[in-house]
């Protein structure tokens, strides 16, 4: 650790180029739910994602935060076309993905990779680490020659901070942090332009989380990667993101650049979320105001009328029960879905 004060720019970030790499327009994903009786038809739909729009610039990291069930993971899966959206468009590098034929989709998939939360269940236990990383290289015909593939695997392993000799080992022989490094090596193997990181550090111990976050930032600078960083940990999201979107019950309630969102949040849900994060310092905690949100997240099967947050909202008025608030631009680059701000 260097003793430089104040901290220097540190990791050279891949400066966002201003080009939109991914645009999501009015994305909707509803899951039908069967009724109780076995002959009964659909009893309703879970509105997992309910009209979500955002874009990501090349080289930037967009953080997508929210609590469980808010639709952040489903949004990521719809972008990857692992779920077919009920409605809406996913435009990646100018191509609308939801209408692509399977063969064309496969070509695009090379460019969009994913890193999952649980590095254990996302690695095939019967394949060696080397085979896991080499597989996408073979499938996509990137490196056809076996020998060259092996060299590439060794390269990638050392790039993510693992010994090349680990190529012959199996995932169960690795620790959680090592497994996540393997997941990362597999994702960057194809030299993608966009990586969806779905809770990539939440299953890891605190001392290992920071290692993985630093690695993700180094790789971003080196390979000019764009990240959609899906997570529930607001401190981690602030650290890694350029811009942040907050989701609640299938909708984006606020989106802004990192600094604005954390220092000057507008939406009452964002404020409550930030207040709920415990800070590892008793002196700070003692002086903090407790804002404990009442109630729980309602069911996405039967979301509240009007603004979906109104039953828990500390500033809700009668009108909030009837009006669905638009995600409107309150200030340049800062959007919030609340009629009270």
């Amino acid at each position: 650790m260097s003793a430089a004060v104040p901290a220097p720019a540190g990791v050279p970030r891949a400066a966002p180029s201003g080009q939109v790499i991914l645009e999501v327009r009015n994305l909707v994903k509803h899951f039908p739910v069967r009724g109780d009786g076995f002959l009964s038809r659909s009893a309703g739909v879970i509105r997992a994602v309910d009209g979500v729009s955002f874009s990501i610039l090349e080289g930037e990291t967009l953080g997508l935060v929210g609590e469980s069930g808010c639709g952040k993971t489903t949004t990521g899966r719809c972008i990857l076309q692992l779920e077919h959206p009920t409605a809406g468009e996913v435009i990646f590098e100018g191509e609308e993905l939801t209408r692509l034929a399977p063969a064309e989709l496969r070509r695009v998939r090379r460019k969009i990779q994913v890193i999952f939360q649980d590095p254990y269940s996302s690695l095939n236990p019967r394949m060696t680490v080397g085979q896991i990383i080499a597989e996408p290289l073979a499938v996509h015909g990137i490196v056809a020659d076996r020998g060259a593939r092996q060299a590439r695997v060794h390269d990638l392993l050392s790039r993510v901070g693992l010994l090349p000799s680990l190529a012959d080992r199996y995932p169960h022989e690795m620790s959680g942090g090592q497994r996540q490094r393997i997941g990362i090596a597999r994702a960057v193997a194809l030299e993608p332009s966009l990586i969806i990181c779905d809770e990539p550090v939440s299953a890891l111990d605190v001392s290992i989380q920071a290692q993985i976050i630093n690695l993700l930032e180094e790789l971003q600078a080196e390979f000019h990667l764009t990240y959609l960083f899906v997570a529930h940990d607001l401190s981690v999201v602030r650290h890694i993101s350029d811009r942040v979107a907050v989701m609640y019950l299938g909708k984006i309630v606020e989106i802004a650049d990192r600094q604005t969102l954390y220092e000057d949040p507008l939406h009452p849900y964002t404020k409550a979320l930030l207040a709920a994060v415990p800070i590892p310092d008793p002196a700070v905690e003692a002086s903090r105001e407790r804002v404990v949100l009442k109630g729980e997240v309602p069911s996405a099967l039967n979301p509240p009328s009007g603004c979906v947050f109104h039953p828990r909202c500390p500033i809700a008025i009668e009108e909030c029960k009837g009006v669905v608030p638009d995600l409107r631009e309150v200030r340049p680059g800062h959007r919030a879905a609340c009629i009270r701000v």
Binding site: M1, H239, P278, P280, D281
Partner: protein
């Protein structure tokens, strides 16, 4: 403040095909009447096993308490027979687990699960037990308690289930609650609700709490005193304020520095702890943290540092504790 629980030189081992795992290796700590004490550490550090040892719930035959004393109100729990231990569990010392769904019985109504300990431990007649169960649900903030008693665990959300677990833990007026990662499975806004509830109840009912967690933020907000564990040992302890303001063990310092904090300016780069936690079957001969430690000196690889006082009420198990954290903070 009188001492309620005193753990002295506890050793709990797991005898596996791979070798002996010394999950808890000569651990001592105490909890005062009505006090909130934390055991903090990462997975595999022995924090859960040291709490389960207090309840004598370590999974046999692989796991065994091989040494030490566990004095609860002056009585050694390790010397009790199974019958005597049953009178302590649930009645004197209660537990709240991480996963409320797997610790509630899915085929019994909430009412049945709440009245059972009241009837067995306190000998209440069923009608009285039901009244008390209703009061308990109201106490932990479950609306419409009388109606909800007839419902089953799957009809409650995760946060509500954890409230039920807390109600069950409180049912026999215990003097100590062991809470093992009580909010880890919950969302942040619900986490805040549950922690506020536990703290409030512990204050009002004068119940002591031993919170076991990996979350440094949770500890900072709710614990009076903190024990930091690493590889089966307590490596630092003191008041929460001392530990956070002037950590005197390189591991604690490393943990605190590796987490991004919302109340501080964003750093361009995080400062992780290098390497990985050790394999408990093959621990290095000296300090278990030495291979990852920036402060390590030759002595650290040879001799295990004992927990020793570094200031009033603050102890550290480090040969160079006085040097830790004294350099310019990056």
């Amino acid at each position: 403040m009188g001492t309620l629980l005193e753990v002295r030189g506890l050793r709990t081992c797991f005898f596996t095909g791979d070798g002996v795992v010394r999950a808890v290796d000569d651990v001592s700590y105490d909890v005062g009447v009505g006090e909130t004490v934390a055991l903090v550490g990462e997975s595999g550090c022995g924090k859960t096993v040291s709490a389960l040892s207090v309840m004598r719930l370590v999974a046999a035959p692989a796991g065994r308490i091989v040494g030490g004393e566990i004095l609860f109100k002056g009585q050694d729990l390790l010397a009790l027979d199974e019958e005597g231990m049953r009178r302590i569990r649930g009645r004197e010392i209660a537990m709240v687990f991480q996963e409320p769904m797997t610790s509630l019985n899915p085929v019994l109504s909430i009412g049945r699960q709440l009245t059972e300990p009241l009837e067995i431990h306190l000998g209440l007649p069923p009608a009285e037990a039901l009244v008390r169960a209703t009061e308990l649900l109201a106490l932990v903030g479950i609306p419409d308690p009388a109606r909800r008693l007839a419902q089953y665990p799957h009809q409650f959300s995760g946060g509500m289930r954890q409230r039920i677990m807390i109600a069950m833990a409180l049912s026999c007026n215990p003097s100590l609650i062991l809470a093992d990662e009580p909010t880890t499975a919950l969302d942040v806004t619900i986490q805040a609700q549950i922690l506020e509830l536990m703290k409030d109840l512990s204050r009002r009912l004068r119940v002591a709490m031993l919170i076991i967690t990996h979350n440094l933020g949770v500890v900072a907000r709710y614990a009076d005193r903190v024990n930091v564990m690493y590889a089966g040992k307590i490596i630092e302890r003191g008041t929460a304020r001392e530990i956070y303001a002037t950590p005197r063990h390189p591991y604690t310092l490393g943990l605190l520095r590796s987490v991004p904090r919302l109340d501080e300016p964003r750093k361009s780069k995080l400062s992780p702890i290098d390497g990985q936690p050790p394999d408990l079957v093959r621990l290095p001969p000296g300090c278990a943290f030495a291979p990852r430690c920036r402060y390590a000196v030759p002595r650290c690889a040879e001799e295990v540092p004992p927990l020793r006082p570094v200031s009033h009420g603050h102890e550290s198990a480090c040969w160079v504790a006085e040097d830790v954290g004294t350099e310019v903070r990056v």
